[in-house]
Symmetry: none
Subunit: 222 residues, 2 copies
DNA sequence: TGTCGCGTCGTACCCGGGTACGACGGCCCG
DNA sequence: CGGGCCGTCGTACCCGGGTACGACGCGACA
């Protein structure tokens, strides 16, 4: 049984989705929300497997709602559904952790197939957008085995838990003193940790450490 | 009418694809190839809309064949089909210009839907792989215009061209001295610029400036 | 013609950050 | 039990970075 929360500001659109989903065995609609804030609230309550999320809504939009749902750490996956084939939407949505991005003109079976994939922990992107993403980013994919990213992974692996925490803090732009205060440590201790982190990841100073953190997604914008 | 070339070293596999495609109106199989070299030759002759390409084949493999087909500049699009869910294959395939990457265990309608999308100039990636690609690369997508970043955009707008260049350099982790050398400037000049940038964007130090730059996608993890 | 934004450079000062030590207690594991 | 990893803290030193001035030449534009 796959549980779904429908989020869209248009009642008629919600009805359409509900009709479709309820006609399919194994799909259950656990609720509807008309704006982002309500969506976030309902996800916290009912923990649906999949959230069908519209982008453009009055009040909190779908991107921000997605960000909060993902950040909450629950099991729910967000599948963005929009009428507008805009790259900015898609980039933002995928960036904040959406598991999918489909257009509302998709055929019903494509939508259902997408929902199933997302519920299973996979991800889907509309073919038109996939094309543009590939055109833009395919050339910078790693050629083959290992290379850069995996080597960096090893560098990250070499960090102890504490050091990783410190690196994240540095990535937030905090000074040593601020880190010391928040972690309740002596500033000298923080310096020690930072120094070890720099040595391990091969950074010259905390600026390069921040860049390293962003490259690995350890720190993320927004 | 969509024309398709089937490339696979296993005759039985080719037969399966042919049976499926010929059962669908609007699909036409223009030929079969058992290895990469033959595929490249046939594409040059018959210019199919879509090439269904296996990866593992004796002789020239599917990746190399794809590279050549794409490089030839024709209209044919390549859809990779493989039994093996290996990231290296996918990365390589997409990098050399494949329009899609699906697994052979896909349902027939998914495969057909993928072929249609590719024929239309779009692209498709298997959901399981899409998930991994997103997990790996989504965080480095450029941010777009959310309400948040638009406010920052104004801050960015307030920077002069030179200051923006300096900010990018800072975002790369360069020291003031290094920036001075690369831009052929005095270090004091760089300091002046950096100071003005910090004041304008509301950053305390260059670390926060780096974070700012990443948030706006002005600097991106390469 | 004046003036304003921009880019350039200099000096002087202070401070946060990075390094190089050394040290101590806790913990796990051989 | 001893050694190793981890996390903690301290002192001392040096340097890069940030700030606060002031100054100059240039092009645009009123």
């Amino acid at each position: 049984m796959t549980t779904v929360l429908i989020v869209d500001d248009q009642p008629l659109q919600r009805l359409g989705f509900r009709m479709l989903l309820e006609s399919v065995p194994g799909m259950e609609v656990t609720g509807e929300a008309a704006h982002g804030a309500d969506a976030v609230r309902q996800v916290a309550e009912s923990h649906p497997d999949v959230v069908l999320m519209d982008v453009r809504m009055p009040g909190m939009d779908g991107i921000e709602a997605t960000r909060r749902i993902v950040a909450s750490g629950g099991r729910s996956r967000v599948l963005i559904l929009t009428t507008f084939d805009l790259d900015e939407y898609a980039h933002s949505a995928l960036r904040v952790g959406a598991s999918g991005f489909l257009l509302k003109d998709a055929r019903p079976e494509e939508l259902l197939s997408g929902i199933r994939a997302v519920a299973a922990g996979d991800a889907v992107i509309a073919p038109a957008l996939t094309r543009r993403l590939l055109d833009t980013y395919a050339h910078r994919l790693p050629t083959a085995s290992t290379s850069e990213s995996r080597r960096r992974d090893r560098r990250l692996e070499s960090l102890t838990l504490r050091e990783r925490e410190i690196l994240v803090a540095v990535g937030r732009g905090w000074t040593n003193k601020e880190i010391a205060e928040r972690f309740v440590l002596a500033e000298s201790t923080v310096k020690t940790h930072v120094g070890r982190v720099l040595a391990k990841i091969g950074a010259r100073d905390r600026v390069q450490a921040v860049i390293f953190a962003y490259d690995l997604g350890l720190s993320t914008p927004a």
